[in-house]
Symmetry: D2
Subunit: 338 residues, 4 copies
């Protein structure tokens, strides 16, 4: 922690700060410059994270030098985390894994048909919402446990792994029973109780970036889960909120190399929500792989015109298949398979 002092700081103020640092087990290292005196607080920044040093008399600004996360950091664990599943699927390894399926589970028949279509195109994980966080209380909220049952049934028939969203602490046990990956949605990225709850399980968690979360806050949300013992976290970039109205969100693909630099966790991309329009999904999926993504999450629907949610951004199975073929050309160009 670096504490920059005001030009007119007094010795008494410097002493006061130094003493408070000592109380927290830190050493104050005072250094007088030409225009400013600074104090280097030697020790663990995290200890004094909540100490509001910026309001101490004589302080101009405070600059932390350590990042606030630990378990998620590349510094803590150098090699990439690879999430492994029983059937041989891995996330974070050489193969780019594709999660595909409908936004919401609507009925058993359609789900199976979509599952078979995405499987034959190369996906190994089925996505589908049973609990749906909808902006309006008047729109379809998902089939609930019935939807989870359809997902489990489809897994049995196809061998696809299941990823589905959990919205509340009281639903984690239920969702964990039916699914292989617990998804935390964008709007719940800082639902800390939910993060703590999924942290107690030993099941991979797919954590979506919040609409206006910085990468640092995104990693801190993962830290919440890991701090409870669950180290199997998959990060998912899905677009952030900006001023640009021509896409639903602005897909921040540079988050991929930034996160690879800061953390050992795998990072996948959801171009369906990230763009909000089906015809932008394929170009952004290609770009995501080129940028180093470990996987993709894609919305697929048999008849998007009749989808109960997010029809605008869903691909029909033939379009999905065509996209997968294009992705198979991109992946080897960056040393990956798909």
């Amino acid at each position: 922690m670096i504490i920059v002092l005001k030009p007119n700081v007094t010795q008494k103020e410097i002493d006061h700060i130094s003493e408070r640092l000592k109380e927290h087990g830190l050493t104050a290292h005072v250094s007088k410059g030409k225009e400013r005196t600074i104090i280097g607080a030697i020790g663990d920044d995290r200890v004094i994270e909540t100490l509001p040093l910026s309001i101490f008399p004589g302080v101009e600004q405070v600059m932390p030098i350590l990042s606030p996360y630990k378990l998620v950091s590349r510094e803590f664990k150098k090699e990439n985390t690879v999430i492994e599943f029983e059937n041989g699927v891995t996330i974070g390894d050489k193969r780019v894994e594709v999660m595909a399926g409908p936004c919401a589970v609507e009925n058993a028949e359609n789900l199976l048909e979509i599952a078979e279509a995405v499987k034959s195109a190369g996906a190994r994980i089925l996505r589908g919402g049973a609990f749906k966080p909808r902006t309006s209380p008047y729109t379809f909220q998902g089939l609930g446990e019935e939807g989870l049952a359809y997902l489990a049934e489809t897994r049995k028939k196809t061998g696809l792994l299941i990823v589905t969203e959990v919205m509340d602490t009281t639903e984690v046990e239920l969702v964990a029973k039916y699914s292989d990956i617990l998804q935390i949605g964008t709007r719940n990225m800082q639902n800390f109780r939910l993060l703590q709850e999924v942290g107690k399980y030993r099941k991979p968690v797919l954590l979506k970036r919040g609409l206006s979360a910085t990468i640092k806050e995104f990693l801190m949300a993962a830290e919440y889960i890991m701090s409870r013992g669950n180290h199997q976290v998959i990060l998912c970039e899905r677009g952030i909120r900006t001023f640009e109205p021509s896409t639903r969100n602005t897909l921040d693909l540079c988050a991929i190399p930034v996160i690879k630099h800061l953390s050992h966790l795998p990072i996948i991309v959801d171009p369906s929500h990230g763009t909000g329009k089906w015809d932008y999904v394929a170009p952004m999926a290609k770009a995501a792989i080129a940028a180093g993504a470990d996987g993709l999450m894609i919305e697929v629907h048999l008849d998007p015109e009749k989808a109960l949610s997010d029809g605008e951004e869903s691909l029909k199975p033939p379009k999905f298949k065509a996209m997968m073929e294009e992705l198979r050309k991109i992946a080897p160009a960056v040393g990956r398979t798909i």
Copy 2:
């Protein structure tokens, strides 16, 4: 709903859209212009909200003409909603109510001392967090039920009403037992399960605007609560996320007149979180009242240097008192009392 068609749309495509509208009980009103043909879908926009018309063949864009919320709207209820409490406190009426207190409840003694100080300065509602949503899992997370008990005890001794945050569906009953107003924090504005849960109670809810929530989404979150039967919602503007780093958030004071225009619900302002720095709290509190806010929420701490959270933005009791005196000059200038 207005559906703008592509320049080269075919009659078959127009017929297809018209039929789908009919299936949803709407009448298609086709109107051929010089450069575009448009279809007016006569009926309730909300019925077809989830129909992904934008992907229908021949469609260029779709423009809803009704807002997606109903119960929160000024159109639904013309007169202002006034929340009334047993002790005569009202929110949304002529008097600007001030909620003040520590960010987090730390112990019984300090809480009482702060409570007495803010009461003597003119506040009638005590704020204080027992359950704290913290960005880091390693920082103080609140005293939990012990903190709630201190709040209730302080209410008994001072007569102040209590507002405190509830973070999870499983905690609503507990928090409702101890507090007069249930606070939903910024990070939970779209925690739909929690909104639904507090919607079942008959206790006022203070709903804070999400970091990157549009006013429309903010009102939709209130609609979630109201749609479950709880019509006592107090909105709270507390700053949005922008590119500007010199304040913690950007306080969007124009949200006050915008919300007054669109909705009948009361709207208060939290300049402590909205700015993140105690010396900007007073100017923004004054501005909020001048802009028409129905109340304020202010962080006060006996010794901000030692606060366990948000010390940077907390006022000491004498500064709070001085600010209240300044506010007493502003309020009458806009026809209010405080």
Copy 3:
């Protein structure tokens, strides 16, 4: 300048950095902490501003401790800058000055009628555009010199001072001939050639904040003007670009106390552009004064329905007069006159 080094930095890397600092006349002060070694570069940060230290081997991050501006800073000049005009008008002093008038000058008669109306309501400065920066090349671009002549004529008849925009280096001399204050528009805040050009004149400059300019960049733009010798700069907050669509821009009123803290320059507010809707102008004008603004810039039009630009946000003279009466109640509540 603080240079935080990587955990695994070598002595050779430290030496290399130290030497480069010496070459720039700075002293390297190395300090080894528990988790990181840091180098304090003693001397003037500005000297090494362009030295890309962050890419030096062994460097983790670089943190400047001095602000990049000098002449605009409160540290450089403690007392507020007050701009004085011949007729006794001052900006930055106790009186809140109001600049009012049409978005664009349309003809001599209307201009005079508006000028007389705003004058009788209490404005002492007339605004009006002769050169209009329009988003579309197909809309009204202003009357040019003819418009400037109308402004000058109106000044003669009413005694009002004139503020009008200059868009290009080649037009500064012309605009300076006719006006009392040179306005630099939002889109030109970082048109550095134009800033340098107005910096050569000895006429007050009204500098509008760029749509996505941080306060630091805003002050740096003022520094450009001042560095050429023109110290009469009036800053103008006029809304920033955010994700919120219900207003044209998001008026950042907290910029007022932030700028008062960092700089000695006067700061005024333009709630017309800041909101984009005439019915939000009065509440935001009141809030601006309550927050400490030194002046206001307001669009007024005789018949906004027929305005050639920005009719949506213009007040009719009676509304303007009513607003001024409301402002006259707010100003004394914060120790100002109007």
Copy 4:
């Protein structure tokens, strides 16, 4: 243009609006719905673009149905615009063209060495600034005409085309004399006088997207140039301003397919400014090509540690060469060459 009327609109108000539309040569098509009456204004939206219909009595909202640009639109010109140069270089055709070179021209020797390096790696256009728009008035502002002369000399020796920035209307003629492509920088995207000026020339213009420009505004800026007769506009995505601090800007790669959809103009990407850090340049360059970019603009410097500007984001020649080799694998995977 669709005009949505308030629920309580009167016939007199409807008549008033209809009459005003007639005055502008438009036909009012009134359509009464269940909850709202709407007026379709039949004719050219652009005619009434400046008519502030939203403030007419009885109007709730106004929705344009045509885009404000014409010449840049895909509707106006279906096939892609391809910019052709004498030496066979094309932009917008199958080959992805790479523009590379230093941020600022520093001296003749280094420029030539960089030019030869980027040429041998496959670039056919040399970038380099002679006039530099710098945030601070105290940093290196470019060599001016001397720098232009070095660029021209280097062109002669290497056969590379030259792209360099023009900052002011008075400099266009000079820059046009020395360069093959006139670059308009981010901060000048809405410097309308400059756009008009370069619109008079018959030389390709590289137009960079403004920091907070929507795609629509970006296209309108191109329309300004084209409306003056210069149809050779190359668009450049270079990152937008968001809340995310870990990169200098947020590169909006989805702008590529969006612009390809709306316009016939070529679009290239600048990952150097778009990320601000050299180690993110290669992943984003790859992603840009995968997303369909027509070209890249890359900063290259012999010794970034000593660069006079933007050293942080510059690649050394060997890194640039390595990146070009990676790009040569990506391009064919999307049907392009490089």
